[in-house]
Subunit: 285 residues, 2 copies
Protein backbone atom coordinates (compact mmCIF):
# COMPACT_ATOMS: atom_id res chain seq x y z
CA UNK A 1 0.00 0.00 0.00
CA UNK A 2 1.28 3.47 -0.92
CA UNK A 3 0.24 6.22 1.47
CA UNK A 4 1.10 9.17 -0.69
CA UNK A 5 2.09 8.78 -4.36
CA UNK A 6 3.67 11.77 -6.06
CA UNK A 7 3.50 11.69 -9.87
CA UNK A 8 5.80 14.18 -11.57
CA UNK A 9 4.64 14.56 -15.16
CA UNK A 10 0.92 13.75 -15.28
CA UNK A 11 0.56 12.49 -18.85
CA UNK A 12 -0.32 9.14 -20.34
CA UNK A 13 2.34 7.20 -18.40
CA UNK A 14 2.07 8.98 -15.05
CA UNK A 15 -1.69 9.42 -15.22
CA UNK A 16 -2.30 5.78 -16.08
CA UNK A 17 -0.21 4.55 -13.12
CA UNK A 18 -2.19 6.82 -10.77
CA UNK A 19 -5.49 5.60 -12.17
CA UNK A 20 -4.43 1.96 -12.00
CA UNK A 21 -3.15 2.12 -8.41
CA UNK A 22 -6.32 3.85 -7.33
CA UNK A 23 -8.48 1.27 -9.08
CA UNK A 24 -6.47 -1.50 -7.40
CA UNK A 25 -7.00 0.17 -4.02
CA UNK A 26 -3.25 0.45 -3.51
CA UNK A 27 -2.86 4.18 -2.90
CA UNK A 28 -4.38 6.58 -0.40
CA UNK A 29 -3.49 9.93 -1.90
CA UNK A 30 -2.08 11.04 -5.26
CA UNK A 31 -0.26 14.36 -5.64
CA UNK A 32 0.43 15.52 -9.19
CA UNK A 33 3.17 17.85 -10.34
CA UNK A 34 4.03 19.56 -13.61
CA UNK A 35 4.74 23.09 -14.77
CA UNK A 36 1.22 23.66 -16.05
CA UNK A 37 -1.42 24.35 -13.37
CA UNK A 38 -4.35 24.31 -15.85
CA UNK A 39 -3.24 20.90 -17.00
CA UNK A 40 -3.01 19.68 -13.40
CA UNK A 41 -6.45 21.08 -12.62
CA UNK A 42 -7.77 19.03 -15.53
CA UNK A 43 -6.13 15.93 -13.99
CA UNK A 44 -7.92 16.65 -10.69
CA UNK A 45 -11.25 16.97 -12.54
CA UNK A 46 -10.61 13.66 -14.30
CA UNK A 47 -10.04 12.05 -10.89
CA UNK A 48 -6.47 11.09 -11.79
CA UNK A 49 -4.86 13.04 -8.94
CA UNK A 50 -6.23 14.39 -5.65
CA UNK A 51 -4.27 17.64 -5.57
CA UNK A 52 -1.24 19.23 -7.17
CA UNK A 53 1.83 21.41 -6.76
CA UNK A 54 3.79 23.07 -9.55
CA UNK A 55 7.00 23.04 -7.49
CA UNK A 56 8.52 19.52 -7.43
CA UNK A 57 10.11 20.12 -4.01
CA UNK A 58 6.68 20.82 -2.53
CA UNK A 59 5.03 18.00 -4.46
CA UNK A 60 7.27 15.24 -3.04
CA UNK A 61 6.89 16.34 0.60
CA UNK A 62 5.75 13.42 2.69
CA UNK A 63 5.38 11.09 -0.31
CA UNK A 64 6.49 7.50 0.24
CA UNK A 65 6.53 6.77 -3.51
CA UNK A 66 7.55 9.19 -6.26
CA UNK A 67 7.09 8.36 -9.96
CA UNK A 68 9.00 10.62 -12.34
CA UNK A 69 7.32 10.45 -15.76
CA UNK A 70 8.72 13.49 -17.54
CA UNK A 71 10.52 13.51 -20.92
CA UNK A 72 14.13 12.37 -20.66
CA UNK A 73 15.34 15.91 -21.29
CA UNK A 74 13.60 17.12 -18.12
CA UNK A 75 14.84 14.41 -15.73
CA UNK A 76 17.95 16.15 -14.48
CA UNK A 77 16.14 19.29 -13.33
CA UNK A 78 13.47 17.22 -11.55
CA UNK A 79 16.06 15.17 -9.69
CA UNK A 80 17.93 18.31 -8.59
CA UNK A 81 14.70 19.82 -7.31
CA UNK A 82 13.32 16.82 -5.43
CA UNK A 83 16.44 15.23 -3.88
CA UNK A 84 16.74 17.65 -0.93
CA UNK A 85 12.97 17.54 -0.27
CA UNK A 86 12.34 13.79 -0.18
CA UNK A 87 10.95 12.13 2.94
CA UNK A 88 13.39 9.79 4.67
CA UNK A 89 11.45 6.67 3.64
CA UNK A 90 10.68 7.84 0.08
CA UNK A 91 11.33 5.55 -2.89
CA UNK A 92 11.72 7.18 -6.30
CA UNK A 93 11.35 5.48 -9.66
CA UNK A 94 10.87 6.66 -13.21
CA UNK A 95 9.38 5.74 -16.57
CA UNK A 96 12.16 6.81 -18.92
CA UNK A 97 12.71 4.83 -22.15
CA UNK A 98 16.50 4.94 -21.79
CA UNK A 99 18.08 4.09 -18.47
CA UNK A 100 21.80 4.94 -18.56
CA UNK A 101 21.04 8.59 -19.27
CA UNK A 102 18.52 8.81 -16.41
CA UNK A 103 21.03 7.41 -13.92
CA UNK A 104 23.73 9.76 -15.26
CA UNK A 105 21.34 12.72 -14.84
CA UNK A 106 20.51 11.63 -11.31
CA UNK A 107 24.14 11.17 -10.29
CA UNK A 108 24.95 14.51 -11.83
CA UNK A 109 22.11 16.25 -9.96
CA UNK A 110 22.61 14.51 -6.62
CA UNK A 111 26.36 13.96 -6.60
CA UNK A 112 26.11 10.23 -5.87
CA UNK A 113 24.12 7.10 -6.75
CA UNK A 114 21.40 7.13 -4.11
CA UNK A 115 19.93 3.96 -2.60
CA UNK A 116 16.39 5.32 -2.94
CA UNK A 117 16.19 5.47 -6.72
CA UNK A 118 15.02 2.46 -8.75
CA UNK A 119 15.44 3.02 -12.51
CA UNK A 120 12.38 1.63 -14.27
CA UNK A 121 10.69 1.43 -17.64
CA UNK A 122 7.10 0.32 -18.26
CA UNK A 123 6.96 -0.97 -21.87
CA UNK A 124 3.53 0.32 -22.64
CA UNK A 125 3.57 3.31 -24.91
CA UNK A 126 0.82 4.17 -27.32
CA UNK A 127 0.90 6.98 -29.87
CA UNK A 128 -1.52 9.19 -27.96
CA UNK A 129 -0.19 11.24 -25.08
CA UNK A 130 -1.47 13.47 -22.32
CA UNK A 131 -3.57 12.84 -19.23
CA UNK A 132 -6.79 12.64 -21.29
CA UNK A 133 -5.37 9.53 -22.95
CA UNK A 134 -4.48 7.86 -19.64
CA UNK A 135 -6.38 4.77 -18.51
CA UNK A 136 -6.15 2.30 -15.65
CA UNK A 137 -5.59 -0.80 -17.80
CA UNK A 138 -2.53 0.52 -19.66
CA UNK A 139 -0.09 -1.68 -17.73
CA UNK A 140 -2.16 -4.85 -17.53
CA UNK A 141 -0.19 -7.78 -19.00
CA UNK A 142 2.62 -5.44 -19.99
CA UNK A 143 6.27 -5.71 -19.02
CA UNK A 144 8.13 -3.36 -16.72
CA UNK A 145 11.92 -3.48 -16.70
CA UNK A 146 13.79 -2.42 -13.55
CA UNK A 147 17.54 -1.79 -13.78
CA UNK A 148 18.75 -1.52 -10.17
CA UNK A 149 22.39 -0.61 -9.49
CA UNK A 150 24.67 -2.12 -6.84
CA UNK A 151 23.90 0.93 -4.70
CA UNK A 152 20.12 0.55 -4.99
CA UNK A 153 18.28 -0.55 -1.85
CA UNK A 154 16.78 -4.01 -2.16
CA UNK A 155 13.71 -2.93 -0.23
CA UNK A 156 13.20 0.00 -2.63
CA UNK A 157 13.35 -2.42 -5.57
CA UNK A 158 10.80 -4.64 -3.79
CA UNK A 159 8.40 -1.74 -3.29
CA UNK A 160 8.59 -0.65 -6.91
CA UNK A 161 8.19 -4.23 -8.11
CA UNK A 162 5.07 -4.72 -5.95
CA UNK A 163 3.62 -1.43 -7.21
CA UNK A 164 3.89 -2.54 -10.85
CA UNK A 165 2.64 -6.03 -10.10
CA UNK A 166 -0.38 -4.52 -8.35
CA UNK A 167 -1.42 -2.87 -11.63
CA UNK A 168 -1.09 -6.09 -13.61
CA UNK A 169 2.41 -5.79 -15.07
CA UNK A 170 5.16 -8.43 -15.22
CA UNK A 171 8.42 -7.12 -13.78
CA UNK A 172 11.86 -8.12 -15.06
CA UNK A 173 15.26 -6.95 -13.89
CA UNK A 174 18.25 -6.45 -16.14
CA UNK A 175 21.35 -4.27 -16.39
CA UNK A 176 21.15 -0.67 -17.57
CA UNK A 177 23.25 -1.43 -20.62
CA UNK A 178 21.20 -4.47 -21.62
CA UNK A 179 17.97 -2.51 -21.25
CA UNK A 180 19.26 0.26 -23.45
CA UNK A 181 20.41 -2.20 -26.09
CA UNK A 182 17.15 -4.17 -26.09
CA UNK A 183 15.05 -1.02 -26.33
CA UNK A 184 17.25 0.43 -29.06
CA UNK A 185 16.46 -2.72 -31.07
CA UNK A 186 12.76 -3.18 -30.41
CA UNK A 187 11.57 0.39 -29.95
CA UNK A 188 14.05 3.15 -30.72
CA UNK A 189 15.26 1.82 -34.09
CA UNK A 190 11.72 1.09 -35.40
CA UNK A 191 10.59 4.59 -34.40
CA UNK A 192 13.59 6.19 -36.08
CA UNK A 193 12.94 4.14 -39.24
CA UNK A 194 9.24 5.00 -39.32
CA UNK A 195 9.92 8.72 -38.84
CA UNK A 196 12.65 8.58 -41.49
CA UNK A 197 10.46 6.77 -44.02
CA UNK A 198 7.47 9.09 -43.68
CA UNK A 199 9.65 12.19 -43.79
CA UNK A 200 11.51 10.81 -46.78
CA UNK A 201 8.29 10.20 -48.72
CA UNK A 202 6.73 13.51 -47.69
CA UNK A 203 9.81 15.38 -48.93
CA UNK A 204 9.97 13.37 -52.15
CA UNK A 205 6.37 14.09 -53.02
CA UNK A 206 5.27 17.61 -52.19
CA UNK A 207 1.70 16.91 -53.22
CA UNK A 208 1.69 13.80 -51.07
CA UNK A 209 -0.15 12.00 -53.86
CA UNK A 210 1.91 9.00 -52.89
CA UNK A 211 0.10 8.55 -49.57
CA UNK A 212 -3.22 8.14 -51.37
CA UNK A 213 -2.01 4.74 -52.54
CA UNK A 214 -0.77 3.57 -49.18
CA UNK A 215 -2.68 0.51 -47.98
CA UNK A 216 -3.20 -0.98 -44.53
CA UNK A 217 0.31 -2.37 -44.26
CA UNK A 218 1.81 1.09 -44.70
CA UNK A 219 -0.55 2.52 -42.10
CA UNK A 220 0.51 -0.08 -39.56
CA UNK A 221 4.18 0.29 -40.44
CA UNK A 222 4.15 4.05 -40.01
CA UNK A 223 1.72 4.38 -37.10
CA UNK A 224 4.61 5.00 -34.68
CA UNK A 225 5.62 8.04 -36.74
CA UNK A 226 2.62 9.70 -35.08
CA UNK A 227 4.40 9.56 -31.73
CA UNK A 228 5.44 12.65 -29.77
CA UNK A 229 8.42 14.29 -31.57
CA UNK A 230 9.85 15.88 -28.39
CA UNK A 231 9.84 12.56 -26.56
CA UNK A 232 11.61 10.87 -29.46
CA UNK A 233 14.17 13.62 -29.84
CA UNK A 234 15.01 13.14 -26.16
CA UNK A 235 15.24 9.36 -26.54
CA UNK A 236 17.59 9.70 -29.53
CA UNK A 237 19.80 12.07 -27.58
CA UNK A 238 19.68 9.95 -24.41
CA UNK A 239 20.33 6.55 -25.99
CA UNK A 240 22.43 7.71 -28.94
CA UNK A 241 25.27 5.13 -28.85
CA UNK A 242 22.96 2.09 -28.61
CA UNK A 243 20.66 3.46 -31.33
CA UNK A 244 23.59 4.27 -33.63
CA UNK A 245 24.94 0.79 -33.17
CA UNK A 246 21.55 -0.70 -34.11
CA UNK A 247 21.24 1.62 -37.13
CA UNK A 248 24.68 0.54 -38.33
CA UNK A 249 23.79 -3.14 -37.99
CA UNK A 250 20.47 -2.59 -39.74
CA UNK A 251 22.12 -0.63 -42.57
CA UNK A 252 24.41 -3.58 -43.21
CA UNK A 253 21.45 -5.96 -43.32
CA UNK A 254 19.50 -3.71 -45.70
CA UNK A 255 22.59 -3.38 -47.88
CA UNK A 256 22.79 -7.18 -48.01
CA UNK A 257 19.16 -7.37 -49.02
CA UNK A 258 19.72 -4.71 -51.69
CA UNK A 259 22.62 -6.75 -53.09
CA UNK A 260 20.35 -9.80 -53.30
CA UNK A 261 17.71 -7.75 -55.17
CA UNK A 262 20.35 -6.33 -57.50
CA UNK A 263 21.74 -9.78 -58.22
CA UNK A 264 18.26 -11.22 -58.75
CA UNK A 265 19.09 -13.76 -56.03
CA UNK A 266 15.61 -15.15 -55.37
CA UNK A 267 16.86 -17.95 -53.09
CA UNK A 268 18.61 -15.50 -50.78
CA UNK A 269 15.56 -13.20 -50.67
CA UNK A 270 13.24 -16.11 -49.95
CA UNK A 271 15.50 -17.32 -47.11
CA UNK A 272 15.55 -13.86 -45.49
CA UNK A 273 11.79 -13.37 -45.84
CA UNK A 274 11.01 -16.88 -44.54
CA UNK A 275 13.23 -16.42 -41.47
CA UNK A 276 11.63 -13.06 -40.77
CA UNK A 277 8.11 -14.38 -41.14
CA UNK A 278 8.86 -17.34 -38.86
CA UNK A 279 10.31 -15.03 -36.17
CA UNK A 280 7.44 -12.54 -36.49
CA UNK A 281 4.76 -15.22 -36.36
CA UNK A 282 6.46 -16.86 -33.35
CA UNK A 283 6.67 -13.74 -31.20
CA UNK A 284 3.26 -12.42 -32.20
CA UNK A 285 1.79 -15.75 -31.11
CA UNK B 1 -22.40 -7.54 -66.30
CA UNK B 2 -19.82 -10.28 -66.77
CA UNK B 3 -21.17 -13.49 -68.27
CA UNK B 4 -18.28 -15.76 -67.47
CA UNK B 5 -15.45 -14.68 -65.19
CA UNK B 6 -12.32 -16.78 -65.16
CA UNK B 7 -10.11 -16.33 -62.10
CA UNK B 8 -6.62 -17.76 -62.45
CA UNK B 9 -5.13 -18.07 -58.98
CA UNK B 10 -7.98 -18.47 -56.50
CA UNK B 11 -6.43 -17.00 -53.35
CA UNK B 12 -7.21 -13.94 -51.26
CA UNK B 13 -7.10 -11.51 -54.19
CA UNK B 14 -8.80 -13.63 -56.85
CA UNK B 15 -11.27 -15.23 -54.44
CA UNK B 16 -12.33 -11.88 -52.99
CA UNK B 17 -13.03 -10.42 -56.44
CA UNK B 18 -15.18 -13.44 -57.32
CA UNK B 19 -17.11 -13.18 -54.04
CA UNK B 20 -17.59 -9.43 -54.42
CA UNK B 21 -18.82 -9.58 -58.03
CA UNK B 22 -21.23 -12.35 -57.12
CA UNK B 23 -22.52 -10.40 -54.12
CA UNK B 24 -22.97 -7.33 -56.35
CA UNK B 25 -24.93 -9.45 -58.86
CA UNK B 26 -22.44 -8.59 -61.59
CA UNK B 27 -21.36 -12.04 -62.72
CA UNK B 28 -23.24 -15.08 -64.02
CA UNK B 29 -20.61 -17.78 -63.79
CA UNK B 30 -17.17 -18.01 -62.16
CA UNK B 31 -14.58 -20.52 -63.36
CA UNK B 32 -11.53 -20.98 -61.15
CA UNK B 33 -8.11 -22.20 -62.21
CA UNK B 34 -4.93 -23.14 -60.38
CA UNK B 35 -2.59 -26.13 -60.32
CA UNK B 36 -4.15 -27.63 -57.22
CA UNK B 37 -7.48 -29.44 -57.75
CA UNK B 38 -8.08 -30.02 -54.01
CA UNK B 39 -7.65 -26.33 -53.40
CA UNK B 40 -10.08 -25.51 -56.21
CA UNK B 41 -12.60 -28.04 -54.87
CA UNK B 42 -12.44 -26.18 -51.55
CA UNK B 43 -13.16 -22.91 -53.40
CA UNK B 44 -16.26 -24.53 -54.95
CA UNK B 45 -17.41 -25.67 -51.49
CA UNK B 46 -16.93 -22.15 -50.15
CA UNK B 47 -19.12 -20.84 -52.97
CA UNK B 48 -16.30 -18.70 -54.35
CA UNK B 49 -16.28 -20.36 -57.80
CA UNK B 50 -18.86 -22.42 -59.66
CA UNK B 51 -16.46 -24.90 -61.31
CA UNK B 52 -12.80 -25.24 -62.11
CA UNK B 53 -10.15 -26.35 -64.55
CA UNK B 54 -6.50 -26.97 -63.79
CA UNK B 55 -5.47 -26.17 -67.37
CA UNK B 56 -5.51 -22.38 -67.94
CA UNK B 57 -6.29 -22.83 -71.66
CA UNK B 58 -9.46 -24.75 -70.79
CA UNK B 59 -10.35 -22.40 -67.95
CA UNK B 60 -10.48 -19.25 -70.12
CA UNK B 61 -12.65 -20.82 -72.83
CA UNK B 62 -15.69 -18.68 -73.42
CA UNK B 63 -14.83 -16.25 -70.61
CA UNK B 64 -15.51 -12.58 -71.32
CA UNK B 65 -13.39 -11.46 -68.35
CA UNK B 66 -10.20 -13.10 -67.11
CA UNK B 67 -8.53 -12.05 -63.85
CA UNK B 68 -4.97 -13.28 -63.42
CA UNK B 69 -4.13 -13.27 -59.70
CA UNK B 70 -1.06 -15.50 -59.53
CA UNK B 71 2.34 -14.56 -58.01
CA UNK B 72 4.42 -12.37 -60.31
CA UNK B 73 6.80 -15.27 -60.95
CA UNK B 74 3.96 -17.31 -62.50
CA UNK B 75 2.52 -14.61 -64.81
CA UNK B 76 4.55 -15.44 -67.90
CA UNK B 77 3.53 -19.09 -68.04
CA UNK B 78 -0.15 -18.20 -67.53
CA UNK B 79 -0.07 -15.65 -70.37
CA UNK B 80 1.58 -18.12 -72.71
CA UNK B 81 -1.06 -20.74 -71.89
CA UNK B 82 -4.15 -18.56 -72.17
CA UNK B 83 -3.36 -16.25 -75.10
CA UNK B 84 -4.20 -18.76 -77.86
CA UNK B 85 -7.35 -19.95 -76.06
CA UNK B 86 -9.06 -16.61 -75.31
CA UNK B 87 -12.51 -15.83 -76.71
CA UNK B 88 -12.56 -13.05 -79.30
CA UNK B 89 -14.28 -10.60 -76.94
CA UNK B 90 -12.28 -11.55 -73.84
CA UNK B 91 -10.72 -8.85 -71.67
CA UNK B 92 -7.81 -9.87 -69.44
CA UNK B 93 -6.55 -7.99 -66.39
CA UNK B 94 -4.33 -8.88 -63.46
CA UNK B 95 -3.64 -8.09 -59.81
CA UNK B 96 0.16 -7.94 -59.82
CA UNK B 97 1.92 -5.55 -57.43
CA UNK B 98 4.48 -4.50 -60.05
CA UNK B 99 3.29 -3.58 -63.52
CA UNK B 100 6.30 -3.19 -65.83
CA UNK B 101 7.34 -6.79 -65.22
CA UNK B 102 3.83 -8.11 -65.92
CA UNK B 103 3.67 -6.28 -69.24
CA UNK B 104 7.18 -7.50 -70.12
CA UNK B 105 6.14 -11.08 -69.32
CA UNK B 106 3.01 -10.71 -71.44
CA UNK B 107 4.86 -9.24 -74.41
CA UNK B 108 7.43 -11.97 -74.10
CA UNK B 109 4.79 -14.71 -73.98
CA UNK B 110 2.55 -13.31 -76.70
CA UNK B 111 5.07 -11.60 -78.97
CA UNK B 112 3.26 -8.24 -78.96
CA UNK B 113 1.38 -5.82 -76.71
CA UNK B 114 -2.20 -7.00 -77.09
CA UNK B 115 -5.19 -4.64 -76.99
CA UNK B 116 -7.11 -7.04 -74.73
CA UNK B 117 -4.87 -6.80 -71.67
CA UNK B 118 -5.42 -4.09 -69.01
CA UNK B 119 -2.62 -4.08 -66.41
CA UNK B 120 -4.18 -3.52 -62.98
CA UNK B 121 -3.39 -3.50 -59.29
CA UNK B 122 -5.94 -3.52 -56.47
CA UNK B 123 -4.21 -1.95 -53.43
CA UNK B 124 -5.80 -4.17 -50.86
CA UNK B 125 -3.43 -6.72 -49.48
CA UNK B 126 -3.65 -8.10 -46.00
CA UNK B 127 -1.13 -10.43 -44.36
CA UNK B 128 -3.34 -13.49 -44.61
CA UNK B 129 -3.54 -15.33 -47.88
CA UNK B 130 -5.46 -18.16 -49.50
CA UNK B 131 -9.07 -18.60 -50.55
CA UNK B 132 -10.19 -19.18 -46.94
CA UNK B 133 -9.12 -15.61 -46.16
CA UNK B 134 -11.05 -14.14 -49.10
CA UNK B 135 -14.10 -11.96 -48.47
CA UNK B 136 -16.47 -9.86 -50.55
CA UNK B 137 -15.72 -6.53 -48.85
CA UNK B 138 -11.95 -6.60 -49.46
CA UNK B 139 -12.08 -3.98 -52.22
CA UNK B 140 -14.70 -1.67 -50.75
CA UNK B 141 -13.28 1.88 -50.47
CA UNK B 142 -9.90 0.67 -51.71
CA UNK B 143 -7.98 1.98 -54.70
CA UNK B 144 -7.31 0.10 -57.89
CA UNK B 145 -4.63 1.41 -60.23
CA UNK B 146 -4.88 0.65 -63.95
CA UNK B 147 -1.85 1.28 -66.16
CA UNK B 148 -3.10 0.97 -69.76
CA UNK B 149 -0.62 1.20 -72.61
CA UNK B 150 -1.09 3.06 -75.92
CA UNK B 151 -1.99 -0.30 -77.48
CA UNK B 152 -4.67 -1.12 -74.88
CA UNK B 153 -8.28 -1.03 -76.08
CA UNK B 154 -10.25 1.81 -74.49
CA UNK B 155 -13.32 -0.39 -74.24
CA UNK B 156 -11.29 -3.06 -72.38
CA UNK B 157 -10.12 -0.40 -69.90
CA UNK B 158 -13.74 0.69 -69.46
CA UNK B 159 -14.89 -2.87 -68.73
CA UNK B 160 -12.15 -3.43 -66.13
CA UNK B 161 -12.86 -0.05 -64.55
CA UNK B 162 -16.58 -0.83 -64.23
CA UNK B 163 -15.80 -4.23 -62.74
CA UNK B 164 -13.72 -2.69 -59.94
CA UNK B 165 -16.19 0.12 -59.35
CA UNK B 166 -18.97 -2.46 -59.03
CA UNK B 167 -17.19 -3.96 -56.00
CA UNK B 168 -16.74 -0.59 -54.31
CA UNK B 169 -13.23 0.40 -55.36
CA UNK B 170 -11.98 3.76 -56.65
CA UNK B 171 -10.10 3.39 -59.93
CA UNK B 172 -7.14 5.57 -60.95
CA UNK B 173 -5.06 5.41 -64.10
CA UNK B 174 -1.35 6.15 -64.25
CA UNK B 175 1.73 5.10 -66.22
CA UNK B 176 3.45 1.79 -65.57
CA UNK B 177 6.61 3.52 -64.41
CA UNK B 178 4.79 5.85 -62.02
CA UNK B 179 2.84 2.94 -60.54
CA UNK B 180 6.01 0.98 -59.94
CA UNK B 181 7.70 3.96 -58.30
CA UNK B 182 4.72 4.79 -56.07
CA UNK B 183 4.35 1.17 -54.96
CA UNK B 184 8.08 0.82 -54.35
CA UNK B 185 7.76 3.76 -51.95
CA UNK B 186 4.54 2.95 -50.12
CA UNK B 187 4.53 -0.83 -50.15
CA UNK B 188 7.65 -2.57 -51.39
CA UNK B 189 10.19 -0.56 -49.37
CA UNK B 190 8.23 -0.83 -46.08
CA UNK B 191 7.91 -4.60 -46.55
CA UNK B 192 11.61 -4.97 -47.29
CA UNK B 193 12.46 -2.90 -44.20
CA UNK B 194 10.12 -4.86 -41.94
CA UNK B 195 11.48 -8.20 -43.16
CA UNK B 196 15.05 -6.90 -42.77
CA UNK B 197 14.47 -5.61 -39.25
CA UNK B 198 12.84 -8.76 -37.92
CA UNK B 199 15.44 -10.99 -39.54
CA UNK B 200 18.20 -8.76 -38.20
CA UNK B 201 16.89 -8.98 -34.64
CA UNK B 202 16.18 -12.70 -34.85
CA UNK B 203 19.74 -13.33 -36.00
CA UNK B 204 21.22 -11.02 -33.35
CA UNK B 205 19.38 -12.75 -30.54
CA UNK B 206 19.22 -16.51 -30.93
CA UNK B 207 17.07 -16.89 -27.83
CA UNK B 208 14.73 -14.19 -29.13
CA UNK B 209 14.55 -12.76 -25.62
CA UNK B 210 14.50 -9.39 -27.32
CA UNK B 211 11.01 -9.93 -28.73
CA UNK B 212 9.60 -10.38 -25.22
CA UNK B 213 10.13 -6.66 -24.69
CA UNK B 214 8.56 -5.55 -27.94
CA UNK B 215 5.47 -3.40 -27.36
CA UNK B 216 2.50 -2.57 -29.55
CA UNK B 217 4.43 -0.17 -31.76
CA UNK B 218 6.86 -2.90 -32.73
CA UNK B 219 4.01 -5.29 -33.45
CA UNK B 220 2.38 -2.79 -35.79
CA UNK B 221 5.68 -1.90 -37.42
CA UNK B 222 6.59 -5.50 -38.15
CA UNK B 223 3.13 -6.91 -38.95
CA UNK B 224 3.91 -6.85 -42.69
CA UNK B 225 6.88 -9.15 -42.04
CA UNK B 226 4.22 -11.87 -41.67
CA UNK B 227 3.37 -11.54 -45.36
CA UNK B 228 3.89 -14.34 -47.88
CA UNK B 229 7.66 -14.73 -48.51
CA UNK B 230 7.22 -16.14 -52.04
CA UNK B 231 5.03 -13.23 -53.10
CA UNK B 232 7.55 -10.76 -51.74
CA UNK B 233 10.50 -12.50 -53.33
CA UNK B 234 8.70 -12.20 -56.67
CA UNK B 235 7.90 -8.52 -56.08
CA UNK B 236 11.54 -7.75 -55.25
CA UNK B 237 12.67 -9.51 -58.40
CA UNK B 238 9.95 -7.91 -60.55
CA UNK B 239 10.32 -4.32 -59.34
CA UNK B 240 14.03 -4.41 -58.48
CA UNK B 241 15.20 -1.11 -60.02
CA UNK B 242 12.44 1.01 -58.41
CA UNK B 243 12.89 -0.70 -55.04
CA UNK B 244 16.67 -0.28 -55.16
CA UNK B 245 16.27 3.39 -55.96
CA UNK B 246 13.94 3.83 -52.95
CA UNK B 247 16.31 1.88 -50.69
CA UNK B 248 19.18 4.13 -51.76
CA UNK B 249 17.18 7.26 -51.05
CA UNK B 250 16.04 5.91 -47.72
CA UNK B 251 19.59 4.88 -46.74
CA UNK B 252 20.71 8.47 -47.33
CA UNK B 253 17.92 9.80 -45.13
CA UNK B 254 18.68 7.33 -42.34
CA UNK B 255 22.36 8.25 -42.59
CA UNK B 256 21.40 11.91 -42.17
CA UNK B 257 19.34 11.05 -39.13
CA UNK B 258 22.23 9.02 -37.69
CA UNK B 259 24.54 12.01 -38.18
CA UNK B 260 22.07 14.20 -36.25
CA UNK B 261 21.98 11.64 -33.41
CA UNK B 262 25.77 11.40 -33.38
CA UNK B 263 26.11 15.19 -33.30
CA UNK B 264 23.47 15.50 -30.56
CA UNK B 265 21.58 17.84 -32.90
CA UNK B 266 18.23 17.99 -31.11
CA UNK B 267 16.84 20.74 -33.34
CA UNK B 268 17.44 18.71 -36.49
CA UNK B 269 15.92 15.57 -34.95
CA UNK B 270 12.89 17.50 -33.75
CA UNK B 271 12.36 19.04 -37.21
CA UNK B 272 12.50 15.61 -38.90
CA UNK B 273 10.16 14.01 -36.35
CA UNK B 274 7.69 16.90 -36.49
CA UNK B 275 7.54 16.83 -40.30
CA UNK B 276 7.02 13.08 -40.24
CA UNK B 277 4.29 13.24 -37.61
CA UNK B 278 2.49 16.00 -39.52
CA UNK B 279 2.60 14.00 -42.76
CA UNK B 280 1.53 10.78 -41.04
CA UNK B 281 -1.33 12.44 -39.16
CA UNK B 282 -2.50 14.19 -42.35
CA UNK B 283 -2.73 11.08 -44.51
CA UNK B 284 -4.10 8.82 -41.76
CA UNK B 285 -6.62 11.44 -40.68
Amino acid sequence: MITRLCVIGVGLIGGSLARALRQAGCVEEVVGCSRNAAHLQRAVELGVIDRFETDPALAVRGADMVFVAVPLGAMRAVFAAIAPALAREAVVTDGGSAKASVVADLNDAVGETPAWFVPGHPIAGIERSGVEASFAALYRDRRVILTPLPETSASAVGKVRRMWEAVGATVNEMSLAHHDEVLAATSHLPHVLAFALVESLARKDEQREIFAYAAGGFRDFTRIASSDPVMWRDICLANGPAILSMIERFEQDVAGLARAIEAGDGDRLLAIFRDAKAARDAFAG
